[in-house]
Amino acid sequence: MTALPETTEMVDPVPGAAAPHLPQRAELVQLLTPEGDRVEHPDYSLDIGEQELRELYRDLVLVRRWDVEATALQRQGQLGIWASLLGQEAAQIGAGRAMAESDMAFPTYREHGVAWTRGVDPLHVISLFRGVDNGGWDPVATGFNLYTVVIGAQTLHATGYAMGLQRDGAESAALAFLGDGATSQGEVNEAMIWAASFSAPVVFFCQNNQYAISVPLERQSRVPLYQRAAGFGFPGVRVDGNDVLAVLAVTRSALAAAREGQGPTFIEAFTYRMGAHTTSDDPTRYRLASELEEWKLRDPIARLKAHLSRSSIADAAFFQGVEAEADELADRIRSGTVDMPAPAPTEMFDHVYAEQTPQLAQQRADFVAYQASFEGGEH
């Protein structure tokens, strides 16, 4: 693990507010520059073959396509809402691909890329946003927990799960996903305290996409987020979240440390949400177009593509092949969504308890009888 960065440089954390006592050296781990050049980092090296590089590219393109298709489906009234990952593909693919099969991910509601790496069917994720169920995948079989809408709650679950792994002597870790806004929640701070105190094998993976809906990072923290970890007593690292290689390397290293009994790490993946918070949001109210343009230059897919072509790791035929695959995926998502059946109404009664209660069984029976009374009627 890296040592905590030294606090050499002091800058003003909030424009206009003089606070020289606050450390501000924001070191960013990067292995691939925005121009697509491979660079080395003293603490994080990545031994990666050409095949693996091509696969990462394929992942990035396919999840972006999934996301674009889902956004379009929402616009067409097929989904109630969609939380886009646009711009955060590298952070999610890098983190997801760093996981071992026996590790467990605890996502929020935006980790479609991580879901992809865990083999969760995109249509299962979509079913939640379509209002068909609350997440149709099997968290145990996939090692990908259900989405969590209440901000921050999952970080405690991940920590408890990690404590379970620890007790069982399992050489696995939990990976908790959270946003920059989530770091303000009391529960997230409690999770970090528990994780530190019990040396739990959990990694907190924070995608700092700069906003919590409309509220910019400055309203959540006056220090770079990764520096918070020091206060809880474990290492914090800031990684270029648009660099899939750096994210992969940093997350692999943190997960390995957790599995080896070295306790938690906080990873801040420094990135940007290119789209709206969700399809109900209007980002023009709170951010400038110029900011967006600036971040476009750091696009996570373009930079890997540049690297692959320039190093002759992939040729035109490969890129066309991936595009064709993305088209197929988009088709499958579209038809799968439109054809997705509505759930049986009685389903809402069926899994409330492991052991059904007499009252609820009665309510279910009354409901069925009531519905039947309309049969043939105008209802």
Binding site: L128, N134, I213, S214, S280
Partner: protein, 325 residues
């Protein structure tokens, strides 16, 4: 005289008026500044009153309510926006163990004039935790008052009255009705905040509702009238304290009573009302007090919310049952 306003706009204007009237009023919540809140209820207020009075808070509900307690101790009147009903629970500890009890614990030395605005209820096709009806949790806690508005007039006046009130108030806004319009006369004398009101006269059955279900009850009354049945609809307006005198009066006349709410029926507000109506009007009742509400399940995925939410058919079905006794 009056202006046609949606509930959302009426709340916006009511908040604006309250801020003009009292410099101690401070709005706090997530995304309420530049964005104007996810429902735009605070639209334009930060621009006009500044960032110190319309505070975009960190993403921390316990923080919003906990700091509101301290601000209230300094004489401020915090108006806290909770973004959606399901996200009030991180603040639940502060609300029920602190906000609700400080007046009693300090023997009245520390009033807590805090308003907690919560868009509540379902019907907007949202994902989980965005459609809940948590009123019973708060009504069950002594020290809190709970109000649920159903129309633009009450929204405009109610929010101002709640802010001016010395006790903490959970102020429930029917999110699926935010866009419904009515004429609001800003020069009128408003009804008191903690008073129920008969909104449709009738003789056969008394139907009680509040918040989003008032409209459903009124629709049921119209449909029932076509079948020759006359429903009296009471908008409770206040959940705690309950204003049941007008209800008792009505039930003594109709002999039948139905309570409608979206929250699950078990231990919901209907249970309390049924008990009180039964105690007080026992000899006038021709039928047991019936409840129409949500099922005792988590709020379902949105494709099933129409089955879950009481609609006019379910109210009419209850009317049939009440009449059948």
């Amino acid at each position: 005289m009056g202006q046609m306003l949606t509930i959302g706009k009426a709340l916006n204007l009511g908040l604006r008026k309250a801020m003009e009237d009292d410099a101690k009023v401070v709005l706090m919540g997530e995304d309420i500044g530049k964005l104007g809140g996810v429902f735009r209820i605070t639209d334009g207020l930060q621009k006009d009153f500044g960032e110190a009075r319309v505070v975009d808070t960190p993403l921390a509900e316990a923080g919003i309510l906990g700091t509101a307690v301290g601000l209230a101790m300094r004489g401020y009147r915090p108006v806290c926006e909770i973004q959606f009903d399901g996200f009030v629970f991180p603040a639940y500890n502060q609300i029920v163990t602190q906000v609700a009890k400080i007046h009693a614990r300090s023997k009245g030395k520390l009033p807590m004039p805090i308003v907690i605005r919560i868009p509540f209820g379902g019907g907007i096709g949202a994902v989980e935790h965005h459609s809940e009806s948590p009123e019973a949790y708060f009504a069950h806690t002594a020290g809190l008052k709970v109000v649920a508005v159903s129309n633009p007039v009450d929204a405009y006046w109610g929010i101002q009255q709640a802010i001016a009130h010395p006790d903490p108030i959970v102020f429930l806004e029917p999110k699926r009705r935010y866009w419904e319009k009515a004429e609001v006369d800003v020069d009128a004398t408003p009804d008191p905040l903690f008073a129920s009101r008969v909104v449709h006269g009738g003789d056969d059955v008394t139907v009680l509702a509040y918040g989003p279900m008032v409209k459903t009850a009124l629709q049921a009354a119209e449909a029932a009238a076509e079948e020759g049945r006359s429903l009296e609809v009471v908008d409770l307006r206040t959940v705690s304290p309950l204003d049941l005198e007008p209800v008792f009066e009505s039930v003594r006349r109709t002999g039948r009573c139905i309570v409608v709410h979206e929250a699950p029926v078990t231990l919901g507000l209907g249970a309390e009302i049924a008990a009180r109506v039964t105690e007080t009007c026992f000899h006038s009742l021709e039928a047991p007090v019936l409840r129409v509400g949500g099922y005792d399940t988590p709020y379902p995925p949105s494709k099933l919310e129409e089955e879950y939410l009481p609609d006019l058919d379910r109210v009419l079905d209850a009317v049939d049952r009440a009449m059948g006794f």
